[in-house]
């Protein structure tokens, strides 16, 4: 049993869902994604218990001889953590869509599983070319999900989604060029060989920037973010959750896994520029979130601020920065899915995303309000939530790099509280007469799962810390040796 099984299950699940018909599609998709999570969890457990886990649990097979591409799916702390995020969130996202009366459900849920397959593949690939294929593959399902099942005016939606597609696709091409360039030097796409490519200063710079463009668009980092808010707003909730919960983590993950070890000298020399850019994004996103009148757009800008901090931490190239980034990726994945779900629930009941049209909901819904409140608190990183664990380590890593970065980046805890509580007040509190049904059982289950994760790892993050630390240390050793 090795990590390729996760991919097989997801791919097979996608096909099975596709053929199961509209009536059963959601249930079949839920079953397969849950099994995929179970397998990932079991493999993670094995990872702690077997000897030589990376060798035992990885899968490697020659695929193409020339150019040399290996089907190499590697099990290490980092890839497993990200696979866990993907497979844990997928069933939850499917669950959140249960109440939606989509047309062509089989295609919809099939594409979700296909997307999970592509994303998990991105996280697990050890071969650069394979990684690139999965990276681009994931763009196709989300493109169709957003385009076909999104909301609002069809023309505008098309415009936003196509813009997103071309933008991210174009960015990724530079990454492809970078891979091909290094391949000519190494004759292999394997990560380890790419790390040891011995590039000169100019080559490193170009390659670093090529990667940066791909990742900066995907994360997004300002000023490459203009596609984001519109797509988050117009895509169906499940699509937004896939994008914000998992897909953007592909890029954050790639900074740690590919960009920094491949171009460490350039990164070290100019890291402050990139940290500063990311930290600027934290403030920029927060202040823009304050000005939003559309709930989903507000959450989109809030997400922009949070992932900016994650990227800043990654660029510090310290253990605290890396680990904080990974932990915060996981925490943010759950909280952002929860928040978009809350927005979706309100939209289902009130048929609006405009904050001004809401209010007085708490009066009617003790359960939903409590859950939404907990998610808001996690989002503002209240201690004892998972998000605090990540944010604390990230900010500490920034403080180690430069205290001012931590002060400016730390403004997120003030601004975050500002826009989130303001939003909660306008959306939920106050007096109101309109009816609003409290959460259904299925909706409640999705919330409870998310909240349980956020609270459990907020108090006891140790298993995850132990999972990712050795791998991150290994990557840091590469970076330092090469440097």
């Amino acid at each position: 049993m090795n990590v390729s099984l996760i991919l097989v299950i997801l791919l097979f699940g996608a096909l099975a869902t596709w053929y199961s018909g509209d009536k059963w599609a959601s249930k079949v998709a839920l079953a397969f994604s849950t099994v995929a999570f179970g397998v990932t969890a079991f493999l993670t457990y094995r990872f702690f218990t077997v000897d030589n886990p990376t060798v035992t649990l990885s899968f490697s097979k020659m695929w193409i001889a020339n150019p040399r591409v290996v089907l190499f799916f590697k099990a290490d702390g980092l890839s497993l953590a990200m696979a866990l995020l993907t497979t844990a969130l997928t069933p939850i996202i499917i669950l959140t869509s249960f109440a939606n009366l989509f047309p062509r459900k089989a295609s919809f849920y099939g594409l979700i599983l296909f997307m999970a397959f592509a994303m998990a593949g991105t996280f697990l690939s050890e071969d650069g070319f394979l990684y690139y294929i999965f990276w681009e593959l994931s763009l196709i399902p989300i493109y169709f999900i957003a385009l076909m099942w999104g909301g609002g005016d069809a023309e505008e939606r098309k415009k936003a989604v196509v813009k997103f597609f071309i933008y991210t696709f174009a960015g990724s091409l530079f990454m492809l060029l970078a891979f091909i360039y290094i391949y000519q030097r190494t004759g292999s796409f394997l990560a380890f060989n790419l790390y040891n490519a011995r590039l000169n200063e100019t080559e490193e710079m170009l390659i670093f920037l090529a990667f940066f463009l791909a990742y900066a668009i995907k994360i997004p980092i300002i000023p490459f973010h203009t596609w984001q808010a519109n797509v988050y707003q117009k895509a169906p909730a499940a699509g937004t959750m896939l994008l914000s919960g998992i897909m953007l983590k592909m890029a954050l993950f790639s900074i740690i896994k590919w960009q920094l070890p491949i171009a460490p000298h350039f990164a070290e020399k100019y890291k402050y520029i990139f940290i500063a850019l990311c930290v600027a994004g934290v403030i920029y996103g927060s202040i823009l979130a304050l000005k939003q009148t559309n709930l989903k757009k507000l959450l989109a800008y809030s997400s922009l601020a949070h992932v900016g901090l994650v990227a800043a931490g990654a660029y510090t190239m310290t253990l605290d920065g890396f680990r904080g980034a990974v932990l915060q990726m996981l925490a943010h994945g759950f909280v952002v899915v929860g928040l978009f779900f809350a927005a979706e629930i309100i939209e289902r009941r009130f048929a609006t995303q405009e904050i001004a049209d809401m209010g007085g909901i708490r009066l009617k819904t003790p359960v939903f309000s409590s859950m939404f409140m907990i998610l808001v608190l996690a989002s503002v990183a209240l201690p004892s939530t998972f998000n605090f664990v990540g944010e604390f380590e990230l900010l500490y890593s920034l403080a180690q790099a430069n205290i001012w970065m931590a002060v400016v980046g730390g403004l997120t805890i003030i601004l975050g509280a500002f826009y989130m509580l303001r939003m909660f007040q306008q959306v939920m509190l106050g007096d109101g007469t309109r009816a609003f049904a409290d959460v259904t059982v299925i909706e409640g289950v999705a919330f409870v799962l998310i909240i349980a994760v956020l609270l459990f790892f907020g108090v006891y993050p140790k298993p995850l810390v132990e999972l990712v630390t050795p791998t991150l240390n290994e990557l840091l050793t590469y970076i330092k040796q090469l440097r």
């Binding site: 150019p67 000023p223 920029y284 202040i287 304050l290 004892s384 007040q425």
Partner: protein, 626 residues
Amino acid sequence: METNLALLLLFAPFAGFLINVFFGKKIGKNASGYLGTAAVAVSFVVTLFFFLQVSSTKKAISVELFEWLNLQNFTVGFNFLLDQLSLLWLMFVTGIGTLIHLYSISYMHDDENMHKFFAYLNLFVFFMLTLVMGSNLLIMFIGWEGVGLCSYLLIGFWYKNQDYNDAAKKAFIMNRIGDLGFLIGIFILAHIFHTLEYTNIRTAVENAWTIDRTWLTIAMLCLFIGACGKSAQIPLYTWLPDAMAGPTPVSALIHAATMVTAGIFMVTRLNFLFNLTPDVLEVMAIVGAITSLIAASIGLVQNDIKKVLAYSTVSQLGLMFLALGCGAYEIAVFHVITHAFFKACLFLGSGSVIHALHGEQDMRNMGGLRKVMKITFATFLISTLAISGLPPFSGFFSKDEILMTAFHHNTVLYVIGSLASIMTAFYMFRLLYLTFYKDFRGTEEQKHHLHESPGLITFPLIVLAILALVGGAISLPGASWLNEYLAPVIAKPAVHHHLGPTEYMLMGIAVVGALVGIGIAYAKYMNKGEVPPQDSEIKGVAGLLYNKYYVDEVYTAIIVKPIYAIGSFFKNVTEAAISGLVFGFGKAAVFLGKQGGAVQNGSVGFYLLIFVLGICAIVGSIFLIK
């Protein structure tokens, strides 16, 4: 055994919270109230046990659970420390907490969400216990932010009213400004010491590590900013008066007796570090003194009974920081305790009055209540005498020690503190006279319903009044039990001045000052029988004070509005510009495409196809060349 008991102490209120959240509605109002009270009472009993034990053995108890955060340079565990300082705090937090819970059973009885109220109150106690019991700065930070959350929830308890929600939000955000300072302070300390455990840091300091004083000073200043947020000091004090939007028991427990003293607790906890940074102490003394004066001056003209008490709280907290700034940690703690007694009593007393008047808070519509509300009046009188600093009431001893210390530290600060105290005596007696003396000024309807509050309300009042009366006994000049008790946790005891002529003279001045304040209040409101004018007629200096020096307006103008303006700029200008730039590239590409001519047919799918084919061609050619 000790571990289990300590966990019981900590988690009893949390269990109360959980039960009230999940079953509160089912078990009914009374059950939910008594359950919440019992949860805190359990903590009080266990605290008492530990308190007696540690008082006799003089050995701190530490409890280590499990590791929480792992960072490269340090780890943080769920560790708790029950030493003299934390137990003292626990004593009055759980003790007064129990009384206020009991009081709330009656006070909140007509509220449909009573179980929720008790759930929040229990949660608050839990976080307060975490704050106090933690053995390192980050566990304290959990409690620190946790109590801020509960404060937010309870200020906005009546969430239908958006003004209350605004007050709640303001409290949370202002606290968060302080919390950022706290976090940065923690970062620097962790960087210097590689640990956040109090005992380890103290050991490091005592073993004369070479510590970078500049960074340490910055760290302590940052922590002090945190204290300013939580303990409502300039410039972060404006949330506390607004916090009075919450139910009155909340004002008594959270916004007077316990949570707002967290800043003083933290400074006392880290006294061995603050001793190394005299500059920060000096700043603290100045900020404290000025806050006490500013807040007292605003209190002079307020007409809302709870607002007067709120500004009085800010002012008294200022005096405590003045004491801390003079390095007299024990004295600050002494005043924290006496203040907890009399201020809790005053707030609960005002709640009793508000209850009797069915929600009326404006003193202009009160008067003459001493005839009907005898117990409330008697307890209120005792507490008022205590806060005014008249002997032999508890406030006299603690306030006098602060002023004495300030006198030996810096005459100007002493004068400021004394002025604040005189003002305090004035506005407290103004409050007393307007509320309880002369004739009733409310409606006939209200007059008809006037009544003394029930036993669940008067009992806590009586207990607190007795404590306010005799509480000074824990630290009598020359024979202080408190100083001796706290000695192990205070690195450098405050200089205790022998009671010489100077000291007796200072005492005399303080008493005379208080009497002058009371005298003016008597002349104005008893002899002349004045009633404060309507809002529109408050002008001149009084108008400036009544409007709180327009500080809120200034903050809005120089901070909030600019942030929104920047937001608008980002939204309307920057975003559009960036977007335009990106589309510009797109348009340029389309333009080039047009020059290319034939392939331009307007179908995005076709573009994508060409796009992908092109990429394949590039990739393929590279491989082929290879």
